[in-house]
Structure formats: structure tokens, C-alpha cells
């Protein structure tokens, strides 16, 4: 069923990405990694629907998505720039029962994000914290430049907490001054081999553009991770 979602807050994550906080009466809740369908209706009745990853656990009826502005996109520029506080769209969901982390799932969790692929993985990190879970979490986050990181301050703060997730950045174009790792595409040395968590049955979640997901999931298989424990989600060019 479609529900009315009212925009109640926005946050700019980068010059190209904005988080929308929406109030959705009756929202049934969701798991980290799930997505929501968003539908726009023009005054002539034309409708356009896109699927977006939820960025955080539900806060009662409040849900968050982070949307990357696709320059010639049909829907994303309207959502990031055309929508004002108090405006409404329609949403349906949550959807997706595979690329999800449930608090209480056994074993360590390796998250590997490429660019805007961080969004569903951030939802898992936030869900872990909200649940007070001590599950071992590691995030490897590949971005072109430091400025393109989403949620940078929050991630750094979480990583500093006792029992917080371990965090490593991979910069592919420009590394920050003083970085020991030169800017380069992600490689096997950027990923921990299996067995890094105490209970060692790690599950990997990989999200990003197709080429990134292909490369990283192949690296993880070659490092010895069980392919059945590597879950992938790809943001195709028109997935936005």
C-alpha cells in the first residue's frame, strides 16, 4: 500500500547528496539495508517511481533516505531540490529481505561501500548502535575524495566510541594530506581477510556501482570468504 510521506527535515551530506527525513503515518518499521519506493505524480496524472535505500532505522513514523542528485535524473533532482518542508510524496515499503542485517544475527559484519553505496550500510551501522549490539562491525568506505564522504562526522564519532565499528577509508582520486595510503582503487590489501572477528563467521555486505561491486565481491571470494555469505547490492546508472 502507498502511504503519504511528508518532508519534515533535510540535511546536506555533500554538495550532491541530501538526506530527506519524512513522516510516514503507519510506517511498519524496517531493517537496515531495506529500501522504499518513492512515487511522484504530476498534475496530469503521470507517475514516476524509484527505489531508495533507507539510511537509518525508523524513528517511530520517521524514515530517512539519502539521495544523490543525478544531473539529468527524472526523479532525484525533484526530491533533492524541488521538495520543500511540508511537501508530500507517496512511499511504499519496506522492500528487500536479503540485503539486511538483523540485530542478533551471529558473527562479524564486513561492510564495503563504494560512493553512495554507503547508504544502506549506514542504516545497518545505525541500527547496530540503536540496538546496543556488540556485533563486530568493520566498514571499508571507498570514495573519490574526502569531500565526497557521506555522514563523515557521525562515522568518525561512532568509530571513536568504545565498541564502535572499525572504519577505514579508501580514496580513489585524492587522499587527504598526510594519508599513508596513496589514492588508488580498492584492492585486496584494503580488505581484511576472513577470520578477523572472534566468532569468525563473517557476513559481507557490498554496495556501490556495478563495477565496484563486481571487483570487491571477486576480491572477497579470492581472500577466502564464503560466496554464500557475501551479499551485494548494486546501484546501476538508472537505479537512482
Amino acid at each position: 500500500m502507498w502511504r503519504t510521506a511528508t518532508l519534515v527535515a533535510t540535511r546536506d551530506e555533500t554538495p550532491d547528496a541530501r538526506t530527506l527525513v519524512m513522516e510516514v503515518p503507519g510506517w511498519p518499521g524496517h531493517l537496515g539495508g531495506q529500501h522504499v519506493d518513492v512515487r511522484l505524480t504530476a498534475d496530469n496524472g503521470y507517475q514516476a517511481t524509484r527505489s531508495y535505500s533507507l539510511a537509518a532505522p525508523a524513528d517511530n513514523d520517521r524514515v530517512e533516505v539519502t539521495i544523490q542528485r543525478v544531473a539529468d535524473g527524472e526523479v532525484s533532482p525533484y526530491l533533492t531540490d524541488g521538495l520543500s518542508l511540508g511537501d508530500a510524496v507517496e512511499v511504499r515499503g519496506p522492500a528487500g529481505g536479503w540485503f539486511v542485517w538483523r540485530p542478533g544475527d551471529p558473527g562479524g559484519v564486513l561492510l564495503v561501500a563504494g560512493g553512495s553505496g554507503i547508504v544502506p550500510l549506514m542504516a545497518m551501522i545505525r541500527a547496530r548502535r540503536a540496538a546496543g549490539s556488540a556485533a563486530p562491525f568493520r566498514l571499508v568506505y571507498s570514495v573519490r575524495t574526502p569531500e565526497e564522504r557521506y555522514y563523515a562526522a557521525e562515522l568518525d564519532q561512532l568509530a571513536d566510541e568504545v565498541g564502535g565499528p572499525e572504519l577505514a577509508y579508501v580514496y580513489t582520486r585524492t587522499a587527504p594530506a598526510g594519508a599513508t595510503r596513496p589514492a588508488a582503487r580498492i584492492g585486496a590489501a584494503d580488505l581484511p581477510p576472513p577470520g578477523w572477528s572472534p566468532d569468525s563467521e563473517e557476513t559481507c555486505f557490498v554496495c556501490g556501482p556495478t563495477g565496484f561491486v563486481e571487483a570487491v565481491s571477486a576480491l572477497l571470494v579470492s581472500l577466502g570468504y564464503d560466496p554464500r555469505r557475501i551479499k551485494t547490492e548494486r546501484f546501476g546508472p538508472s537505479g537512482q
Binding site: 527524472e74 525533484y78 528487500g96 529481505g97 563486481e214 571470494v221 560466496p227 554464500r228 537505479g239
Partner: protein, 199 residues
């Protein structure tokens, strides 16, 4: 009653009759899959149909290529709302593969290398509606798009067109596959917008 989006015009004001409800056209070929891409050496590739009595019929890669092929041009519709119109494939019709199989089954469960499964009624694989496809746009099918061979059943949402297809299990009772167990629709007709359970 709906919620209107003031100032939203959308891209296509006139409706494209080839697009099912809620779909938009893409010229790219996005990739969606749940895990790592399996790489299956052709000398070890095989395709097996197992009937409800457990009898197996298997084709090797050269045996598949030796069968008469067809080149369907079809529209494909992904549940994530993109559609790609007028795609051209080469493959073997399931009518040919199922012709000599002795079965009274009503259902099929498709199995892939890598462990993926999806289910559909057997009749949806027959009557020129489904192929084991091994070329896309005149080229060998790339691994990320399901190569060496995938099921092509374009009248249903594209998750039914299992990549890296390894076999078909014929069943007397319907058995949900991977996405069908994870909340997606059992049948998945794009024209009736059967995306999720309950649609």
C-alpha cells in the same frame, strides 16, 4: 486519490504503451544480483532438467549450442522499475528443451550457479515465452548479465530470468525461490504490477 507533486513534470508526458505501470525506460543495462558473480568454465558448464520423478536430462555447453537457436527481440522489466525495450538475444527455446521430457508437473523451480533460485508455473516456460539465452546484442552474454547462459522469460519481472542458469526442477507443487521467499511476488506479472507479496 493521490498525492500530487507540485511542479513535477516527469520526463515522458505522453505514456509509452510499451511500458507497464510504474516502469520507466532505461537505455543502460543495469545489473542487479544478490551475491558475487559466479564464473563457470564452459568445459564444466551443464544444464539439467529434473522431472518430478527425479529423472535428469543434461546438456553440455557444446550440446546446448548445437540445438536450433532463436533470436527473440523483447522488452524486459525489472522490479526496481526500469524497463529496457527492444533487447535482442540468442538462445534455445524452452519448448525445444522440454519437448522430450516426461512430466505431469505444473511448476518449475529454476536453479543457478551460485545458489540462486526462482519459481514459476511450467506453462510460463512454454509456447515461445522462454529461452536459455547465451548471447545479448550479438555478443556472448557477459558474466555480470548472467553468462554463460541465463533464463530469459521476459513477460515476467526480470528476477524470474535467472542468471547463470544451471537447471530446472519440475515440481507438482509450487515452491518459492530466493526473492519469492524474501517478500517478492510469487508470479511477478509487470502488467499487473505484481512486485511484492500481496500485490
Amino acid at each position: 486519490m493521490g498525492v500530487f507533486s507540485p511542479g513535477f513534470r516527469g520526463r515522458s508526458v505522453e505514456t509509452n504503451a510499451a511500458l507497464p505501470p510504474g516502469q520507466h525506460e532505461t537505455r543502460d543495462f543495469p545489473v542487479l544480483s544478490a551475491g558475487p558473480t559466479p564464473h563457470v568454465p564452459l568445459d564444466r558448464w551443464e544444464f539439467t532438467i529434473t522431472n518430478e520423478a527425479g529423472h535428469k536430462t543434461t546438456w553440455s555447453w557444446p550440446q546446448l549450442l548445437a540445438l536450433p537457436s532463436q533470436t527473440p527481440t523483447v522488452d524486459i522489466h525489472c522490479v526496481t522499475s526500469w524497463s529496457k525495450l527492444g533487447t535482442t538475444w540468442r538462445g534455445v527455446s524452452l519448448d525445444a528443451l522440454l519437448e522430450d521430457i516426461d512430466t505431469a508437473a505444473d511448476y518449475a523451480l529454476i536453479h543457478s550457479y551460485g545458489g540462486y533460485t526462482t519459481n514459476l508455473p511450467l506453462e510460463d516456460l512454454l509456447s515461445g515465452q522462454a529461452w536459455i539465452a547465451y548471447e545479448f546484442d550479438g555478443e556472448g552474454l557477459a558474466p555480470e548479465h548472467g553468462g554463460p547462459a541465463r533464463l530469459l522469460v521476459p513477460h515476467l519481472y526480470f528476477w524470474k530470468s535467472a542468471k547463470w542458469v544451471r537447471g530446472i526442477e519440475l515440481l507438482l507443487e509450487d515452491e518459492p525461490g530466493f526473492w519469492e521467499t524474501a517478500g517478492y511476488h510469487d508470479y511477478g506479472d509487470p502488467w499487473r504490477e505484481q512486485r511484492y507479496q500481496g500485490d
